[in-house]
Symmetry: C2
Subunit: 147 residues, 2 copies
């Protein structure tokens, strides 16, 4: 790929695919995938949570979260139960088996993080991370405005 054509979009998307593959490889050993991460992280901190809350937490559209949760439920990673106070709502929690994997999961994530950041000089890492977040938040705002 010629250097001039490495647009921001291409670059970010490329890096994202690579990080994802790397993460999925490590997570395979504990029976999880990168797509499960935001859900498990969220539920590890606050249980139970509705599909809506999970989707917002992960910045993912509702149909995408619905599909992810359906797969996770099918695979015994999360459990769904109705909300007694609102019959529209489904509440999700981690299964005991998944709770036992949280430690290994955090370790795997941390490894990928280190591998990615180790490509940059130590004194640039924090700034880089921050810039990435700034850009993402700006894009999110942009996307919202245009609707």
């Amino acid at each position: 790929m010629a250097d001039d054509d490495l647009s921001m979009g291409y670059l970010v998307h490329w890096a994202g695919r690579l990080l994802r593959r790397l993460a999925d490889r490590k997570l395979k050993a504990i029976g999880l995938t990168s797509g499960h991460l935001p859900v498990v992280n969220a539920l590890a901190q606050a249980e139970p949570m509705s599909q809506k809350a999970l989707a917002e937490w992960a910045s993912i559209e509702q149909p995408t979260m619905a599909a992810t949760l359906a797969r996770m439920e099918r695979d015994g990673i999360v459990e769904r139960r109705p909300d007694a106070r609102d019959r529209r709502v489904a509440l999700f929690s981690l299964t005991a088996a998944t709770r036992g994997k949280i430690g290994a999961l955090r370790m795997a994530v941390e490894e990928v993080n280190q591998e990615a950041l180790s490509a940059l000089p130590a004194d640039q890492r924090a700034t880089f991370r921050h810039q990435l977040e700034t850009m993402a938040r700006a894009m999110e705002k942009r996307l919202g405005e245009e609707l």
Copy 2:
């Protein structure tokens, strides 16, 4: 999403999704999608190209490129013809209609680029882009080594 949980992988993937949505929105007007970009860019510079060459150029796996090209052919964006010298090879070129869109396409990409980069101070943009590329190349190397 709590700040501590914004792992590198999550951040990059998030930014990638947002950039992609933004790009797709702009490209919709000219009848293209972000997935078409690397192919159109490549063919705009060197025609014709085999599926293999396109996949390598775009850093995408062969089956993914095969599917993308099949859709693009179906939608009249590219044309496929056999290679006289090697019957295994399929050579792809842009259709005349697509060639006429290259200008608009470049403009749309440039717009998204600017929108993304404008979130950062001007004097940090070049460095940031470079860091992103460095990280991606490192991840690519990593991924290759582990096989």
